[in-house]
Subunit: 395 residues, 2 copies
Amino acid sequence: MISKKMSNLVKNSSAIRAMFEEGRKMALEFGKENVYDYSLGNPSVPAPEGVNRAYKEVAGNPDSNYVHGYMLNQGFDEAREAIAKDLNARFPVAFDKNDIVMTVGAAGGMNVIMKTLLDPGDEVVVFAPYFGEYKNYVSNFDGVLVEVAPDTSTFQPDLKALEEKLTARTKIVIINTPNNPTGVVYSAETLTKLGQVLEEAQRKFGHPIYLLSDEPYRELVYDGAEVPFVTTFYRNTIVGYSYSKSLSMPGDRIGYLVIPREADDHDEIFAAAGVATRILGFVNAPSVAQLAITKCLNERVDVAIYDRNRKLLYEKLKEYGYECIMPQGAFYLFVKALEPDDKAFVAKAKAHRLLIVPGSTFGCAGYVRIAYCVDYAMIERSLPAFKALAEEYKK
Amino acid sequence: MISKKMSNLVKNSSAIRAMFEEGRKMALEFGKENVYDYSLGNPSVPAPEGVNRAYKEVAGNPDSNYVHGYMLNQGFDEAREAIAKDLNARFPVAFDKNDIVMTVGAAGGMNVIMKTLLDPGDEVVVFAPYFGEYKNYVSNFDGVLVEVAPDTSTFQPDLKALEEKLTARTKIVIINTPNNPTGVVYSAETLTKLGQVLEEAQRKFGHPIYLLSDEPYRELVYDGAEVPFVTTFYRNTIVGYSYSKSLSMPGDRIGYLVIPREADDHDEIFAAAGVATRILGFVNAPSVAQLAITKCLNERVDVAIYDRNRKLLYEKLKEYGYECIMPQGAFYLFVKALEPDDKAFVAKAKAHRLLIVPGSTFGCAGYVRIAYCVDYAMIERSLPAFKALAEEYKK
């Protein structure tokens, strides 16, 4: 007697999560050492010691009703102020606490902002390949997901194709940089052009189009790559951030939205985001986590560990004959499947006990995502499997 | 450019929350000591020391990826097992981990279960007076809220009136015991009859009707009152629990759903609740809070403190001529307004710097809710204001 809507959702449920659960079962059957689970973006690098120190400090605060009590639905003033100051120090921006809403991770923040902005039938544009959950977030509010086809030569957003997808019903355009699943970082040049296309569309259609920048991977970049701050390129940008990856705490569910004061209808959006946070059942981002991250905003996971993984896996996969671009950020390789049917390829990989995710989950068939936020030793152990899989296709 | 839906929600936003924010402003103007804020169910009794000890222990666990990582969307196995065992030890039930879903408080759990069960147009029945947020939770999923009028002589649910409200579209009936805002506890007799009415309706309409029992106040009872466990009266009961009140940690956002194995379509609901948790953006209940409460399931706030508040306020209000029933649980008094228009009464109370919530917020005009989860000293200071307010009506 679950709802019809839900019944369809369960059937088409996240291939990534299904793989994660499959991995747990296979580990029991074959032994944990013999299953190479590259399915989930579950950080393998431990949280910085500062995170646990901060939790202990917060738990030691004698003012229990402050630490564990309700606060404004948008979050503690102190947390929002600290984040605004931190962003102001690092980027050419000037936020204050009224531009920040604490959220239950980036997923919570994206749902809050979609609840805030979308009426049924409103369109949300995404660039393939994109995180498959966006589809569900949009459908939660009866929005319509509009896909821009991938440019598989660079995996940068195809802005010409975007122009053709913008309509009078476009309310939100989502970007995700550094990108899941490609690892691509959008350049300042790309963002400048994107801003121009959206400004032009706003003029044409006579209403704001919000650029929702999903940035959980902001701090995970390699080779000195820079991630420009998107609000400085386009006024109507809303940033969704999460500490899941930068502090290796995805289970804690803590992040924030930036609603810059220069965005159209800033005050209304800020107020509505608080109401949305409440009525969607979050009520507020977890209080202890809010106070804890306030104490360790400058901490970072050790990105060198992911970088080492990235280099080993990229180099070896290329050596075995796989095609893929070198990622500049996040912790994924987006690899061309060795046959056009990515799901069939994923099934063949599974026979080698390699768990990887089909690109069609990301709106980009013919590719697979490999999450390298895993132990280096697992990568080493898995290399013969990747090699054998490639050789299977050479026969 | 916020959505039309949201624009209406913001306009009609929670009177309780508005009052809470008003209280913060008035405290700045008149001094904190001179504002008597009875608006919000924000516990004043500190969390038991065990809660903070548990947080510190969890933060001290060297396995960072376990403590801060993803787990099944339904929550950690250990947390769900511990809760099942705890319930089995206290009530005549036999749950296991597959009957428990960890949630972001009770509000998160209720949204998850409504996402799981409701198709647009499905009906959700509530007994007035009821927590006003239920209306928003139901409308999040395009359900239709159906109110059963209050029996103001006892504030027990009117089961005759319920029978008339059940239709072929009824999917969920919500109860809340101990009740917000009346403090009433549903007796075993009431629950037995309620179960019979629902069984009969299931037969008549040929599909399950789920009884959603919202129980954040389960452990807050007085004078030795017993709160029967609802699943033992009606098979298709789903319990929504929160530690917000029993451990004074509403900001932490931690609770659970019980989906008993004997409920129709148990497995489907359990699986769908996991998917709903993920796609609504919760992803999972906060990991550190899940592990922390697992370590202090037997802790309780000191209910004697609320009991002392209850007795003082009840006795004095009766003395001043107010009418209200003596609450057996929770931390609210539901008092008859001294004029038919409860909102006008609330405005007059505010002139005495008394912040109380109109009963119409709870679907029960002519009454007001007074949340006595406050400092005893504040109650003492506020008594002359309650007296003066009553005298204003005697002139």
